[in-house]
Homo-oligomer: 396 residues x 4
């Protein structure tokens, strides 16, 4: 940590708002550096300038956390992606740490080393195997001296607890996030129970990331908070939701929506939706507030603008904005200048421009989870024959 | 031009597809470098790394044209934005040329110097004044030796013709685009008539950019083509539409939609919509195909993927994609792998996730154009009193 | 005509508003007396009490015209329906006249004998044959002494002109309606040209019925009016549109919508939509204003309530209503009483409660018209084999 | 009861399906005989031919129950409607019994005397007062010898129990329905608990009517059934839901929707929705299946057609239909004939034709119930001053 910077727990203990960054895999997919499907982060080593630029945009938008771009960077996942391997897992993790640190040093941000769920767990490998895989990423994080750790995107609390147990050995602060909604994890464990187990395992910060829209995630974190408090425990809370509206999701979240991942555009939240999210999260006692898939820098800026009264300052990128559309005062057309006011944007019900599309979908998850054959992960690309079976199954 | 590169007219004369880039002001607004309202491009000088990165992403996505980030960079507009001026117009235009050239040199792309409509015209200044303003940008383009010129985003064909007349003096190839739809320019001049006048003034390429969605723009360019052919003239055609669905727009396009510019998210086109657009444009005989506001690198990549058979190659960024979702074959969940096929995505009707929002809006343009008092542009920020009048007017 | 009643032309010449009734086939289909598909009116003879009751409801709602329930009651259509024939065409037409007269005598209404397009025309029979078929219905109308005649629901102006020529021989006033929109008849003849031909053939009243929503029909009648006036002719105008919103229809109207005829519910107009329709029609100079398929008595009452200032009285059924929801002042719940005001209902944007449905459909008309094999009409029920071919064709 | 007819309990004990009729107040409001707001049934005496006709249509559609048109026919309600009183409560109740009996005799239907919640209860009158009011209607039903009794449309289980206690004294079979959803009555009593109390009070049939759409009502009746069975009791079950889609309702149901009661059109269920409802209800073990507000005769016919295999016959009105659109085989247009099949209609997602409307609304109930001042009922019409207060309150 740079001299003079406060650590993550110091900030949260002091009641400060900590703003997270946005999701890297989706943002970089749109920019041409991440492949949807495998979703692996080799760009950290392959195209560092693109990753660095995205870090900078989130910093400029107000983020206090530069999370290493190491999502799905465990060795088993990298091998499983059915793709050629130009870089080792260690190289990718190290490059990601360097990029995060470089940009964190440009402002008031901390570096968080990130791990997530593994194909090993899904393929029913042992606790020892899963922990060994996670340990390899941690070794890099310790060597690069990240400021704290985030274990996130876990669908099963059992694996999340294993992850926290491994992370704990580093002595660094630990944040742990499930990617679940109010209905709980894939085996039906409630958010409250998940949170209690994670806190008992050693996480100082618990919460939710990904899979559901902001309001749903905030609701689930509230359930976590109630569970932790009822159990007489203490914790800080965080939330890093999708930037997509998902009122129609079932328990596995946006993965099951027919629009995932290439038709989600009409669901993208506006900056005004983000204002409401930030306020709701803050009011719920959640002080570490960031984003996941779908978040672009302007979404994080909106969170920072909403919470500017609490933080005491606007983010750098607000020089190119203006609260609640005030920049429109300088627009050429008078009727657009007339939109330069809060009540206009707060009350707007934006149209989709898609009159032949519905407003809600029917999720098509197959209701299977760890233990089901269809979920065994493999190194090889899916074969023609395997695909045919999948296509047929999906038509029923 | 780099040795060995073919010029824009050589390419079009040979029947080649030329892919344009996407809109910089909207993309950089989301990244925190452009202010909505003034929409001026000072970031070229202020934050060159951000502009360079966006150029690179479009190059990687398949673009053959790096358009200088000089939209609204005429001196009168820069002064009009009611903002402090850290950089001169010349500095911004020069920086933009350097960035475009630097990235164009990294691949098979040409540099196009761009000019657009001016506040001088809207404020009823003389032809001499308007031409003098445009001339200042051109001086930079000549000095920096751009490969060709684009006069774009004109709502009035009279001003567009003036621009072409100025550009013509450089001896460089000229592309000229109106930002109009099938109903014609703000004074009711039809697309066919606009095209004829532009060709007669000296433009070798004519077309449409901005303000309407892809299918509407293609329709308007078709009308231009018919007009030009009926007049016994010759030209090449281009189109650079919005990446927003706008079935509900009236003649002034998306500016009038209540969602402009901060609530357009649900209207964003998917990559599959872009496939349809690229095919439709190509089939209409339009060979210079790009994008404007709302286009992100993945949208241009989709255009390049659709036209890969015609061009003979895939763009660099396709290494992180896979035609029609093929990358999903490597997804963890089997029901997502089952989406790795063309017919799935071609037929998807994506939901908005916004059940309390409509699918179409009522545009609220005030039906005024050049000559109306409300359109006189001023250097000063809109005053409180002026804003109050606007808010009141907008509520009626 | 009862002594003391003014005839249809007297009323229109005097500038009076004449309110028509609503569509019988759709209303009686919902009540269980008409079969969708054949759409024939044998109920006039089979279930007279049901037909009489519907007449009464329209009279009570304010209608000045009791149209005989003789839609599709030409002998060729009755034979073509592939159904057993319990009643002769003459019996049905006579029963319908008696019912209309009985109820007309209960109030200030006229009896209009109605004819419509024939399967003979669609099957390419000769002018002589088509006229002979129509003549048989007319003989009944003359015998029963109806007050005037309506030739309506013609998709081809050629057949409509033939009908008017036959009707003219009775000496009774003639109203003639096409079931077309602004794009014109099935052979592309514009509304203006259709109207001119009908007036020249002898119709004193021309207009549009069925196939499109009120605003579209009013638009088409305006085009008729302009055509007639431009041709230096004189006429009165009428409109009897659908009570379904059809913004997505192509030239053949609601028949082509995928929802026709058993899924049209979400498109039904509210009473407030009818207020707007009535005003728009009246302002357009159309003074014979009624309804067609989808109109229920309360829709006609809304037309009569909107035009009460012009007519000078409210319809009988308004004793069970109250302008603009005023009856709600007596509702149990206070928040419903708060809806007892015009601006509430005028501005309401009613939700569909169908989040998985779109707002617009893609019409699936096959683009065929008279002369195409698929349109030859037959007496026999469609065979299994014929149906299979149709199902296959519809899936492509 | 006519000789040879089985009573309601005999039928249900034998496992027979009993089909109810549809809602009279909404159907007759559209026909011009009931006033929305007061919703009182004076038409039974004022316009008997209209009421008789509607009974006949439901009988023809397959209904086995002719419910007397005595909704809100308690003396306190009739007085409360702020309207002149031409008929006494006794006259209205007697006329309604006579009409129901006359039509029931025309087919296989029973007469059910109906009572519902009272303004006396809402205005905090005593148990004695409320029971006395209900007793007056019962006296008529006993005199007219109805076949059984239905106590329906109760928002508070306390009042429903009082009603059952009064009804029990007649010795006739009793069905009791709450107008609640899965969240329970207005004081939060669960459907399970409501059902248990009603059965203990003496109802042999319990269920839900009105306020919610079919699937929601079936869900609530299932909860009732589970509650009754868990309590070791026995009962038959009935359901008479709305014919409106209400996915967005809160606990007070459709009354709170902004569309109530004059903008509900886009929510009307299609006949195919009714097939799904009938099957779902039957599968849930509910054997008395009918409808409430919004049900037209064709909706009841659809229920009867879906359950024709279980009942062993089609209803009379099916002579004018044909299962799953088969009547369309005789349509003029071949592409409409191609819709004459079950899978077409089962899978159709009907469009609203309202692109500027949302699919879901925000209910605006004020969260008040019995005991709140705003709910005190009065005889006088709401005064101007009272209305102004309501309008102002509704705008906040």
């Amino acid at each position: 940590m740079a001299p003079g910077k406060k650590g993550i727990l110091e900030r949260l203990d002091a009641g400060e708002v900590v703003i997270g960054d946005g999701g890297f895999v989706f943002a970089l997919e749109k920019r041409g550096y991440v492949k949807a499907g495998p979703w692996t982060p080799e760009a950290a080593a392959e195209h560092p300038e693109a990753v660095r630029q995205l870090h900078r945009e989130f910093l400029r938008a107000g983020a206090n956390v530069m999370q290493t771009f190491t999502f799905y960077a465990s060795d088993d996942k990298l091998e499983n992606r059915g793709n050629k391997l130009t870089f080792t897992g260690a190289q990718i993790n190290e490059a990601a740490c360097d990029l995060a640190r470089e940009v964190a040093n440009e402002g008031d941000a901390l570096v968080a080393g990130g791990v997530c769920q593994t194909p090993s767990y899904l393929s029913c490998k042992s606790e020892t195997d899963v922990k060994a895989i996670l340990k390899k990423q941690l070794d890099v994080f310790v060597k690069k001296n990240v400021d704290f750790l985030i274990a996130e995107y876990f669908e099963h609390v059992e694996e999340a607890v294993w992850a926290v147990e491994v992370l704990k050995k580093t002595g660094k602060p630990i944040a742990a996030c499930m990617c679940i909604g109010p209905e709980g994890d894939m085996h039906g464990v409630s958010p409250a129970e998940c949170a209690v187990r994670l806190v008992k395992a050693g996480a100082q910060i618990v919460g939710i990331n990904c899979h559901f829209d902001p309001m749903t995630c905030v609701k689930a974190v509230k359930m976590m908070k109630e569970g932790v408090e009822k159990a007489g425990l203490k914790a800080h809370y965080m939330v890093q939701p999708l930037a997509y509206h998902t009122p129609d999701c079932s328990c596995q979240g946006f993965i099951d929506l027919p629009e995932f991942p290439f038709g989600l555009e009409p669901r993208i939240l506006s900056r005004w939706d983000m204002h409401k999210y930030a306020r709701e999260a803050y009011n719920a006692g959640i002080h570490f507030i960031g984003g996941c898939c779908g978040f672009e820098p302007y979404h994080i800026r909106a969170v920072a603008e909403e919470l500017a009264p609490e933080r005491g300052f606007l983010p750098a990128a607000s020089e190119k904005h203006g609260n609640w559309g005030a920049g429109l005062e300088m627009h050429t057309k008078p009727w657009v200048r007339a939109r330069a006011r809060r009540d206009y944007w707060e009350n707007l019900k934006p149209a989709s421009g898609r009159p032949q599309c519905p407003s809600m979908s029917v999720p098509d998850g197959w209701g299977v989870t760890k233990g089901d054959d269809a979920l065994m992960q493999q190194k090889e690309a899916t074969s023609e024959d395997q695909l045919k079976k999948l296509f047929d199954r999906s038509k029923n």
